[in-house]
């Protein structure tokens, strides 16, 4: 489903990703681990299409299509979803309004009819319960005054609502206590399915106790330096990243 080949990405003329190659099939969950500054967030942003991130070499193919040629909103409509590390606040826009606007924007791009307020509300309520997202949260302005855990739960709620084909989770575990982490992980696990691919980006092995990946890739200095099964996470936890990073340098 996702095929990244020899990807080089620069930000402000500085090369961050330097020849990254990665392939994920539908139904699989892959994890990207790596130290700070290895290019993890850059990878998530280039996939979602953030301005200021420039591909200088290589390619990203999503469902047989050149992903870089698509505008960010078109990627969302085609099923790419990024759960952000730092969800932003939009004052004055209620969470419910935002969800409705986003959902219908995606639907419209796919040529599907809009859902009315009642339809969206039903859909949101059905998904919100499991993630413990309350009605009161939906009435508040988007992410304004939300705790770290509430923000992340809302990200996963959006993932459940938009039903993406490729979900990228950028450090979803950061800033979460163990209960919140478990809740979020449960939410993610119920979304695992044969037609959906997931890319879980994390600094710590902890998250992978709850979201068990099919494959782990270690990112250091802009490229994949090690790959393995879920046991690789435990090894990293024990030995740290240093020995891998040294090899690249």
């Amino acid at each position: 489903m996702l095929d990244i080949r020899n990807l080089h990405v620069a930000v402000d003329g500085k090369e961050i990703l330097r020849g990254l190659t990665l392939r994920i099939e539908a139904g699989q969950v892959h994890a990207i681990m790596g130290p700070n500054g290895s290019g993890k967030s850059t990878l998530s942003y280039i996939l979602a299409g953030r301005a200021g991130y420039e591909i200088t070499e290589g390619s990203i193919t999503y469902d047989g299509e050149d992903l870089a040629a698509l505008a960010p909103e078109a990627r969302a409509a085609k099923g790419v979803f990024l759960a952000m590390q730092y969800p932003v606040e939009i004052p004055g826009v209620t969470t419910m309004t935002f969800l409705k606007t986003a959902l219908n924007s995606q639907r419209r791009q796919r040529g599907e009819p809009d859902l009315d307020a009642v339809g969206v509300l039903k859909l949101v309520r059905a998904k919100a319960k499991m993630l413990n997202v309350t009605e009161e949260m939906l009435k508040r302005a988007l992410n304004v005054g939300f705790s770290g855990g509430e923000k992340k739960r809302l990200e996963i709620l959006q993932m459940a609502l938009f039903e993406p084909r490729l979900a990228i989770l950028d450090e979803t575990d950061s800033g979460l206590d163990i209960d919140a982490l478990r809740l979020v992980a449960e939410g993610v696990n119920t979304l695992r399915g044969p037609s959906r691919a997931m890319l879980v980006i994390t600094h710590y092995q902890r998250l992978l106790d709850y979201i068990v990946p099919d494959r782990i890739h270690v990112l250091a200095r802009g490229r994949i330096v090690a790959e393995g099964g879920k046991e690789l996470a435990l090894e990293l936890e024990a030995r740290g990243y240093d020995h891998l990073v040294k090899d690249v340098a």
Binding site: A48, G49, R50, A51, G52, A71, P72, E73, R75, A76, A77, L82, M84, Y86, P87, V88, E89, I90, P91, G92, V93, T97, F98, K100, T101, A102, L103, N104, S105, Q106, R108, Q109, D114, D116, A141, Q158, F162
Partner: protein, 483 residues
């Protein structure tokens, strides 16, 4: 459909940014070009006015000749040649309509294009509409129902003929003839406008609304609105404004006077969308407006809500004189300036009586190369014991070389008075935009969504049926403002 999406669909549908830019081809009757005593006499005669009204106008005109155009606002514009404009233009053969069926179908078509199907509104919205086309009022709906309640809602020209005592008693008592250059000019040449009188203890059974439309070229529009809420009365009034696209600048100098007696409340809302000029700053309306409300009675309340998206130049300070003890003044404003628009707008809250309170919430949005200034005065007089004011002034900058300025004046002659002023300036953050895009919301919709969120506290003050319209307008005004 979400607001942002509706905005988008709306814009796509009309295929241009200013959808009110059309001209109605209709035969006009005009006063000779230029401004003189003869012009004033011509207008007065056209309206069939009594002598006292003509004298009032002439007095204003003579006064105006000795006045100087004010230059203290942060706006720049070429000198206005007052002799190079028409001061009266009216669609031929339209006045004196008994019912809508008699109104020129072309006019009704125009209003339909503006989104005000009069017939439909009569049936559905329960909104009484008075429509002023260039200089005359062409149709007033819902008269009967209002008559039953004892509410007078009619063109001011009619009120001068039919209710001279009321007009004489209140006209010019809030904005005196001598008030300022543009108000004095208006007093001399005002052509029409709206008159509302809500009698003692009556809650006006519906929203009242006037749509102002400038259609003729080289014509100034000078409407005059007078609203009186007698003791214990309540009225909510909304005005909407549009004009065709033209390369020339057109002058609009209106005067609005509100009078609230004991325990009365007036809610006055404006959605102003005069033609703002094109992307290069060519054309657009010069909007020099004097709006003032007098809380004359005890515990009276006047609330101004404005959504200002149009005009090349906006010079406008809807104000409240808080004379009655315990009276309340409110000002809620959204001012959007894009491209080369210049807005200098704000309010004055004059606390004269004890226990008076005022609240100001101003949201200024600047994009392109526009300049947006909030100018406000809070003045507390010596007898205004226990007066309170809260002012919140937020500016949002969108891309480009725009500017936001805040000029608050605070005067207190009563030391215990409580006056609070808060101000913020922010930008639409790149991460906010990216967040929306990544969730599938296209850029223009994202901007509209974020700006509508920024304005929410003010939009909430608008009557429901107009809030939706205003939200759309906010989106349309900022189309393409983020490059």
């Amino acid at each position: 459909m979400s607001i942002a999406a509706e905005t988008k669909a709306h814009v796509a549908e009309i295929g241009e940014k200013y959808k009110y830019g059309f001209v109605t081809d209709i035969e006009m009757e005009r006063a000779p070009k230029g401004l003189s005593e003869d012009t004033v006499r011509y207008i007065s005669a056209k309206k069939g006015e009594p002598d006292w009204m003509l004298e009032w106008r002439l007095g204003a005109f003579r006064r105006w000749l000795s006045m100087k155009e004010p230059d203290w606002a942060r706006v720049q514009y070429p000198k206005i040649d007052y002799q190079d404009a028409y001061y009266y233009a009216a669609p031929k053969n339209t006045p004196k309509k008994q019912s809508l069926d008699e109104v020129d179908p072309k006019l009704l078509e125009t209003y339909k294009k503006l989104g005000i199907p009069l017939h439909e509104q009569m049936a559905l919205a329960g909104v009484a509409v008075d429509a002023v086309f260039d200089s005359v009022s062409v149709a007033t709906t819902f008269k009967e129902k209002l008559n039953e309640a004892g509410v007078i809602f009619c063109p001011i020209s009619e009120a001068i003929r039919d209710y001279p005592d009321l007009v004489k008693k209140y006209l010019g008592t809030v904005v005196p003839v001598t008030d300022n250059y543009f108000a004095t000019l208006n007093s001399a040449v005002f052509s029409d406008g709206t008159f509302v009188f809500v009698p003692k203890g009556v809650r006006c059974p519906m929203e009242l609304s006037t749509y102002f439309r400038i259609n003729a070229s080289e014509t100034g529009q000078f409407e005059r609105t007078l609203i009186i809420a007698d003791e214990g009365a309540y009225v909510s009034y909304l005005e909407g404004c549009t004009a065709p696209k033209r390369d020339e600048n057109q002058l609009h100098a209106a005067v609005v006077e509100l009078v609230a007696l004991d325990d009365a409340e007036i809610k006055y809302s404006t959605v102003q969308n005069w033609y703002p000029g094109d992307e290069n700053g060519l054309g657009g309306i010069f909007n020099f407006v004097t709006k003032r409300g007098d809380c004359r009675g005890r515990k009276s309340k006047i609330s101004w809500t404005q959504v200002e998206t149009g005009s090349a130049i906006t010079w406008k300070y809807p104000s409240c004189i808080l004379r009655g003890e315990g009276s309340v003044g409110e000002f809620y404003s959204i001012a959007i300036a894009n491209n080369f628009q210049q807005a200098d707008t704000g309010t004055k809250m004059i606390h004269l009586g004890a226990n008076t309170r005022s609240r100001i919430i101003s949201k200024g949005i600047s994009a392109g190369r526009a300049q947006n200034t909030y100018r406000g005065l809070v003045s507390v007089y010596g007898k205004a014991n226990n007066a309170r004011n809260h002012t919140q002034c937020d500016s949002l900058l969108i891309d480009g070389d725009c500017g936001a300025h805040t000029v608050p004046y605070i005067e207190s002659r009563n030391p215990p008075a409580r006056i609070e002023h808060e101000a913020t300036t922010s930008q639409i953050a790149e991460d906010q935009l990216f967040y929306c895009l990544a969730r599938g919301i296209p850029q223009d919709e994202a901007v509209s969504l974020i700006v509508n969120g920024f304005c929410r506290e003010v939009l909430q003050q608008l009557p429901m049926e107009f809030a939706v319209e205003a939200q759309k307008l906010v989106g349309i005004s900022l189309e393409g403002s983020v490059g």
